[in-house]
Amino acid sequence: MFENIDSFKLASSLARHASDRQNVIAQNIANADTPGYRASDIADFASHFDKWDWAAHDTTNVDRPSPPWRDSMAQMHIATRPEFGNFGKEPTIFSRFDAPDETSPNGNTVALENQMVKSAAASSEHNMALALYRSSVDFLRTAIGK
């Protein structure tokens, strides 16, 4: 029911981005001493958001096309529905890219310090998403007078 309201969608998309990023960072840290391992990362949420050309689509226009995070959310809800065959299969909506910190002699490109900073950022992003969700709920409550 809440998925149809934009701010909830945005909050949920942001939380998902934070959790995906946390997952990638955990992999990097776990492989911090694996020879030849290359650090990866996913783009920050703002850059996913900025891809949408807001100016070209007037917000007062009733049948404006939906922004990209909305499309990806819609796909996500379809794809994660527990059906036979694709149960448990999580679509990755945020694609990964190679993000080397510094190369050590054994070919590993993970620097623990950088990864720690990134994970702190992911954690606060998640907090922000939850706060956004909570305040949206409050907003809704106020609107219905409870």
Binding site: A26, I29, A30, N31, S119, S123, L130
Partner: protein
């Protein structure tokens, strides 16, 4: 939610691998004075599909053993020499420190992910 579970599993795999590495280091240190002992080494391997890390098979370091001169030792040959181990204490200590540091990083990650999960579950409490 399941994403967070996966994340904690990855961190746990990292901790497991580093604990194994630390065990190998302590075995080497314990046998630093064992005649003919070759130090053990393990390699970390990344699992491409899951992103987890795994400690590979134990291998023996094939560098030359140190030759010790001690004519009174029962193991000594005619010239009074015998083979010691090829364990170098400084290398082992450095390895142990690195394993500890990586273990802590993984533990930190585990804790942080758990806190994120808790934040998510808090949403249900109202």
């Amino acid at each position: 939610m399941t994403d967070f579970l996966k994340t904690t599993e990855i961190s746990a795999a990292g901790m497991r691998a580093n604990a194994q590495r630390l065990r190998i280091v302590s075995e080497n240190l314990a046998n630093a004075d064992t005649p003919g002992y070759r130090r053990k080494v393990i390699n970390f391997e990344a699992e491409r599909a899951t992103g987890m890390v795994e400690a590979g098979n134990v291998k023996l370091d094939q560098t030359d053993l140190t030759v010790i001169y001690d004519p009174g030792n029962p193991l000594a040959d005619e010239s009074g020499h015998f083979n010691g181990s090829n364990v170098e204490l400084v290398t082992e200590i450095a390895d142990a420190r690195e394993a500890q540091r990586s273990y802590e990083a993984n533990l930190n990650m585990f804790d942080q992910t758990r806190q994120m999960t808790r934040g998510l579950l808090e949403l249900l409490r109202r």
